[in-house]
């Protein structure tokens, strides 16, 4: 009876203590570990590429009259990091944060508010300001576009009117 126990003691002595003292000690994180994402609001365009890539709809877009909100809900996130891969500006970064335990689900939300560009003709809001600014900059290379900040519908109407005038109507 005693002999096997003595054997165990020698084995245990060789192995030593393996238990990690986690809450009082640093967690065991590898370099590849992916945790909660962080959205840098100063670079984000509000284009919605991350929303299309998200497999679990943790990233969603809420549209209203003059505001587009990018909502990230960490409670549904599966931490795949696809949003960070597809983000054209690199605004989304994967952090190593995993201590997300909370009593209220609202704590897990992260909202980025984008104000939309207002159409000078009809007064409709149509595209997030940073995205509009970027498109303007890109298009300005081949001559400054006239109706760039006009909403697509008004642009069509104005274009048709211009065409009619050109033909002498």
């Amino acid at each position: 009876m005693v002999k096997p126990i003595l054997k165990l003691i020698t084995v245990a002595k060789e192995a030593g203590v393996v238990t990690r003292k986690y809450p009082y000690d640093s967690p065991l994180l590898t370099e590849e570990f992916r945790g909660k994402i962080e959205i840098d609001a100063s670079i984000c365009w509000g284009c919605g590429a991350c929303v299309k890539a998200c497999p679990s709809n943790a990233l969603t877009i809420r549209e209203s009259m003059d505001v587009r909100e990018l909502v990230y809900f960490a409670g549904r996130c599966i931490f795949c990091g696809r949003c960070a891969d597809v983000c054209p500006t690199g605004a989304i970064k994967v952090t190593k944060e995993f201590e997300l335990a909370t009593e209220e689900l609202e704590d897990l939300e992260q909202v980025v508010i984008h104000r939309k560009v207002k159409c000078p003709i009809c007064g409709k809001h149509f595209v997030p300001q940073p995205l509009g600014r970027y498109v303007c900059e890109k298009c300005a290379k081949g001559g400054v576009p006239t109706y760039m900040m006009v909403c697509p519908e008004c642009r069509r109407k104005v274009g048709v009117k211009k065409m009619i005038r050109c033909k002498g109507g």
């Binding site: 986690y22 609202e106 508010i113």
Partner: protein, 160 residues
């Protein structure tokens, strides 16, 4: 909220799988194994919900398991505490809009309230699956050893 009095002693946990993929369940085993050793805090796995203080709830709560889950939670003594582990238990995860699941603990809570089962405290632990460290952190938040870190963030775009 102050820690319930029952939790000043050891925490006995009951593992309640409600149709999860077993990844979270394996992480729970990791928590109880010597490497992460949750028995440091007096956490002990029990076989019956009647003995348990905390239910470790994993999975999106399928329609098939719903009556069993309600029965198991009803069998638990007050204070009735729940640790919802994994993205599925928190909000339905990738099954959030599926027809065959209830879709996370918040919706189950409503059903429980209709059936007269009171849940005293819930702590949500997101992750797919939740890390063993994250589960221990959630347990510590539930018991009152640590405070929560996350907070709702609302940012305005274009601010530099």
């Amino acid at each position: 909220m102050r820690t319930p009095r029952a939790l000043k002693r050891s925490i006995w946990v009951f593992h309640l799988n409600t149709g999860s993929c077993n990844a979270c369940d394996i992480e729970i085993l990791d928590v109880l194994a010597p490497f992460m050793d949750a028995e440091r805090f007096g956490v002990k796995l029990v076989a019956s919900p009647r003995h348990a203080d905390v239910a470790l709830l994993t999975g999106p709560i399928t329609r098939e398991t719903l009556p069993k889950v309600v029965n198991a939670l009803r069998a638990m003594p007050r204070p009735r505490l729940v640790l919802a582990i994994g993205a599925c238990a928190v909000s339905g995860g990738i099954w959030h809009d599926s027809y065959s699941v209830i879709g996370g603990f918040p919706r189950l809570k409503k059903i429980l309230e209709e059936n007269g089962v009171v849940i005293d405290r819930v702590v949500y632990v997101p992750g797919c699956p939740a890390r063993p460290e994250a589960i221990i952190y959630g347990l510590a938040v539930l018991v009152g050893l640590l405070k929560k870190k996350v907070r709702k963030e609302v940012k305005e775009a274009g601010e530099r």
